[in-house]
Point group: C2
Chain length 657, copies 2
């Protein structure tokens, strides 16, 4: 267990200060701007014929009196619009786009019109259950939707300076603050799906109004107190449930209300709920210097990353409850590993990173980002994975075996429960804010993504120009351009996968290893910087054979291939079917293969053995026949790129001999 | 594919002619007589407090007007009483027991009283849906229940000579014959759960009335004709379903009505239904010399045993539909492998054996019997497995992961759907009839089970006295005592697992290998036999490392241990938890361990390697740490004996290196 102090927090770079220009990421950012966000707007407006209907925009129009109709969709349908607006805000903060801003302004006008006099906004309850506000917090996501709207309002204000949506969410938050709390007459409740906690901290940051920070802390501290608020509400509404069969109001582990949050030490229940809650806890702990809450964050972090996380950064291994399982239970085929859960893990990791300045958080952030998150979206930006398996056999997914009903061998167009696509959009469109932080006299480099950043350190404006072929190569060039000569430090993350093998030159002169100070995974270069100083960071990026902790049953006797931040996988398209027949000899060769496909990725060719069916005598079981292995080649591609060439088998963990 | 002719059929020994006296099996037979059958009678009468209620006897009493009440239980609850009566009949045929016979007679009186004037007997429809007879064949098991009652009536008549229940079922069968068939005005239907087909052949055998054989053939030939009878009935009753969510009437593969039975070549759907159907098909094919139907039996047999059978003789790998999956899909942990399905496989194999005289059928019969069937029952005779996993982790079964809801790590007391316990009882109580057959001048030994048999061959009465420590040792002594000197053949099965390594002495003199005629897996000794001739058969019984067909994903890189007919497994009780950490080196030693426990079984100790958690650095994934294996011992026990020492991990397939 790491001990971190909740005292000094570094500051992430503002999105507006970072301009990404990178051979790997620019494709995704352009995709989000040119395809994903426009496509999602069409989907939210029910104009994509081949996708499941959304109803999300229509619900707001009906609530605003602009249209006649009935509420359509999930109880949390509003949040899709909010997440889309948040993504739009990040795009606008990065680069002006009057057309897009016009569309967003129009949507914001509708939301403002729909807002009720007391500040309340939620189209499900306004249209479908007008009298039932706050009667079913466990299941109905009211504060969750509020949280997403607040995030959108804050982001849109930061991006455009326009206050309309911010004013809407301030009125809404003030109203919520008047309803919830420990004072007599207030509802001592909290939401079934955590989200408002982290949103209120953002609102506090932008408004400076401490009531929002306190309300966030209240929601966190109230959760898990006895008697159970959710059970009480269930009783009060006569046992009525919104999602029959899901036990949301009685399975207290599901929404992490089984214990006060400070007392929790094992990740349980719905994975997205937990990491959103932890992001809020990390925020509040840092701002209130709440060491006990930070300790709880660290305990739960350790449990997740050391016992419950897939090598791809996926979390929540069970479809049942979209939930964490017991320690080390990480099945690769019946897996859940929702895209949103990995995005939430990044939110949590990013906040812990600001507080602790410990590269382990950036390492996990990178792992989730380069593997599960971008695997969640097709290269065309219109197809998405909700579930991210590490082993797929399409025969099982398409068959009668319902254990695999949730696992799709190809990406789907748009879901009835469309949480993941807009979540990918808002994460990628805000990617610039994850790359750098500044603390005191130090500029931290967390992620190696090319482009230009304008930061202020020690009172001096500094431009950083980053250039690399990351994640394909470990050579990163960083030009440091302070407005004048200035003493400060540049801290470069040395990823765990490099084994600490980083060499650094400044202006062509190597810094000797003994002079390189490495603190919490960051190589710190302290010196007086002059305009046009150039750092050349070189990270060793060998092809690695990765093994799992011996307690992980699913991976016993298996190996995974990783290079840099990228986890690799075998696909049927390259290797034929029956991937279980491929075995990697412990000392077999591994070599890089430059590929023209899928964005110019680098594949890996491995010397392998292949279990041979042809010489087997045909019996199902044989006490005489010995398995016959023949030399073969296995071709691995990056996990994020799987399932872009039709339906087929895939696996990350491969037998090793 | 084997080609067998449907011309000459051998005759199984009558149960009354075989007296089992065997150190392995006498325990089970006494258990069935002294515990299982009495315990089940209590359960059927709802007198076992800790078990789920049955209602089965009460339903008959209510239908007979002896009691007031309502029908209780599943739509096929009657069959539990019938199966129990059939087991009782076999016990009585083996050895008189006036008390037990009195109880059975009393039950038969009730059934006779309950029978309606037209011959119909089915308490569900009589009590609960009086007007709905034959309106829902797909789901409501009417002919299935009739079939079990017919089997009971036949068995009870054979055992006791009493005609009362036989007369009941003759009236019932005559009535059924008047309802179903191809003639105008008759219902062109068949049952959703095959069973009556094989029962009618038994009724034909005991009565000599060919109408029953023809009715059986009709049911088989009609199945799968278009348009679908089940879909038509579903339409006629306005879509009403008895088991909502199971699609019994529309999923035609589920009940093998997707194709005419003669055209089927892949085992699909509900496993018990298929093997019961195949048993009936084998019966009809043999008696009607129907080569086409026998060919269909062979095709489906081959598909099952060469692509869809567990090493334990379990079949039907999916809980969803209790069904077969795609070829080679044999997961060990989410497995179904219902006890009843293996019993049905024995029924099918036994019939094919009579027709083909091919030992492969006896080999599978033995595999299912010595592994899945007796694993289905605890050593106390009061706890049963419905599902027979080959790999269990109690943490998964008890957790939130519903994929394992059906898998129990310990045997249960009595089920709401109690098909398996009485099925075990009727199979074990009739075990004597599976040991020998006679065809022309040859006596066949299929199973090596000690005791005495009185058979007639070539017009001569012959007493056979068999003695062995089978399945623990391969030395079998058989005394052949013809009433006078006589020429005939004794055919001894040489099990596939012996690798053909059998040596045979007659009166102490070895038969040279070149003189030993082996036909279809039987070593045939043709000679003039004198009273007190002694055969000493010696089968090699090495500890075997068994591998799976390379297409079986679940067992890739794994080995199973088998000795003689017994498949072995690792249990946590002997090996600690985390059984996935045990690895068997390819050339490691394997030795026998005589154990006092669980009926004096022989365990196997293996030189193994154990993945070491202690030296691992604690990380979930490591690119530096190499898995550390330490020499260890692994102790295997016979699979049938698992879960008799509390809850713990178990696995059959073990990693091999």
């Amino acid at each position: 267990m790491h001990h971190s102090k909740a005292t000094e927090t570094m500051r992430q770079a503002h999105l507006s200060d970072v301009n990404i220009d990178d051979p790997f990421w620019s494709y995704y950012l352009d995709l989000v701007r040119n395809v994903v966000v426009p496509y999602q707007w069409e989907a939210l407006n029910d104009r994509v014929n081949s996708a499941e209907p959304s109803g999300a925009v229509a619900n707001f129009k009906i609530a605003a009196g602009m249209m006649v109709g009935e509420f359509y969709g999930m109880v949390f349908q509003d949040s899709d619009v909010a997440k889309w607006l948040e993504a739009v805000a990040y795009l606008l903060e990065t680069r002006p786009d009057p057309d897009l801003e016009g569309i967003a302004d129009g949507m914001i006008d509708i939301i403002e019109l729909a807002q009720q006099d007391d500040g309340y906004v939620n189209t499900y309850f306004m249209l479908k259950e007008p009298g039932a506000r706050w009667t079913n917090l466990a299941e109905c996501h009211e504060l969750y939707c509020a949280g997403h709207l607040i995030e959108a309002g804050v982001a849109y204000y930061r991006a455009t300076g326009k206050r309309k949506l911010l004013d809407v969410v301030v009125r809404f938050a003030d109203y919520i603050d008047s309803v919830f709390g420990t004072k007599p007459g207030k509802l001592r409740g909290y939401d079934g799906h955590q989200e408002i906690e982290l949103a209120l901290v953002k609102l506090y940051e932008v408004t400076g109004n401490e009531r929002y920070l306190n309300l966030s802390a209240y929601f966190l501290n109230e959760r898990g107190q006895k008697p159970s608020f959710f059970e009480q509400q269930l009783h009060e509404r006569g046992g009525q449930t919104h999602f029959p069969g899901l036990n949301m109001a009685t399975d207290l582990e599901y929404n992490q209300s089984h214990l006060p949050v400070r007392e929790q030490d094992k990740a349980v229940g719905h994975a997205v709920r937990l990491v959103y809650m932890l992001a809020g806890m990390a925020d509040v702990a840092a701002r209130k210097h709440d060491q006990e809450m930070l300790d709880a964050c660290m305990r739960l972090w350790d449990n997740i990353v050391s016992r419950q996380m897939y090598i791809t950064g996926g979390i929540g291994s069970m479809v049942h409850g979209e939930a964490f399982s017991y320690d080390y239970d990480l099945p690769n085929d019946t897996v859940y590993a929702e895209t949103c859960a990995s995005i939430g893990l990044i939110f949590f990791a990013h906040r812990m990173l600001q507080t602790t300045k410990d590269a382990q958080f950036a390492d996990v952030m990178e792992r989730a980002l380069y593997n599960t998150v971008i695997a969640g979206m097709s290269r065309d930006g219109k197809h998405f994975f909700y579930v991210n398996p590490l082993e797929v056999n399409p025969k099982s997914c398409g068959g009668n075996n319902k254990n695999y009903d949730h696992v799709k061998p190809v990406r789907q167009e748009w879901f009835g429960c469309a949480c993941c696509p807009p979540n990918i959009a808002r994460l990628l469109s805000s990617l610039g804010s994850y790359i750098y932080s500044v603390h005191e006299d130090t500029i931290y480099h967390h992620l190696y993504i090319g482009g230009e950043a304008n930061l202020k350190v020690n009172g001096t404006n500094v431009v950083l120009k980053q250039e690399s072929r990351y994640p394909w190569q470990g050579d990163i060039k960083i030009e440091v351009v302070p407005e004048k000569k200035q003493d400060f430090a540049v801290a470069l993350r040395v990823p765990r996968w490099s084994g600490g093998n980083a060499s650094i030159c400044v202006n062509g002169r190597a810094i000797p290893a003994e002079q390189l100070k490495v603190v919490n995974g960051y190589a710190v270069i302290q010196r007086e910087w002059s305009p046009s100083d150039v750092i050349a960071l070189s990270l060793e990026m060998p092809i690695m054979r990765v093994h799992s902790h011996p307690a992980v049953q699913a991976n016993a006797g298996k190996v995974a291939i990783q290079r840099g931040p990228l986890v690799y996988c075998l696909e049927e398209a390259d290797n034929g079917n029956h991937l279980h027949q491929l075995v990697l000899p412990k000392k077999g060769g591994l070599s890089l293969l430059e590929e023209g496909i899928l964005g110019g990725m680098i594949a890996i060719e491995a010397d392998a053995l292949r279990l041979n069916e042809e010489t087997w005598d045909g019996a199902l079981y044989s006490e005489r026949e010995l398995p016959d292995y023949r030399p073969a080649k296995a071709k691995f591609i990056p996990y994020y790129a799987w399932a872009n060439r039709g339906e087929g088998e895939m696996r990350v963990w491969v037998r090793e001999q």
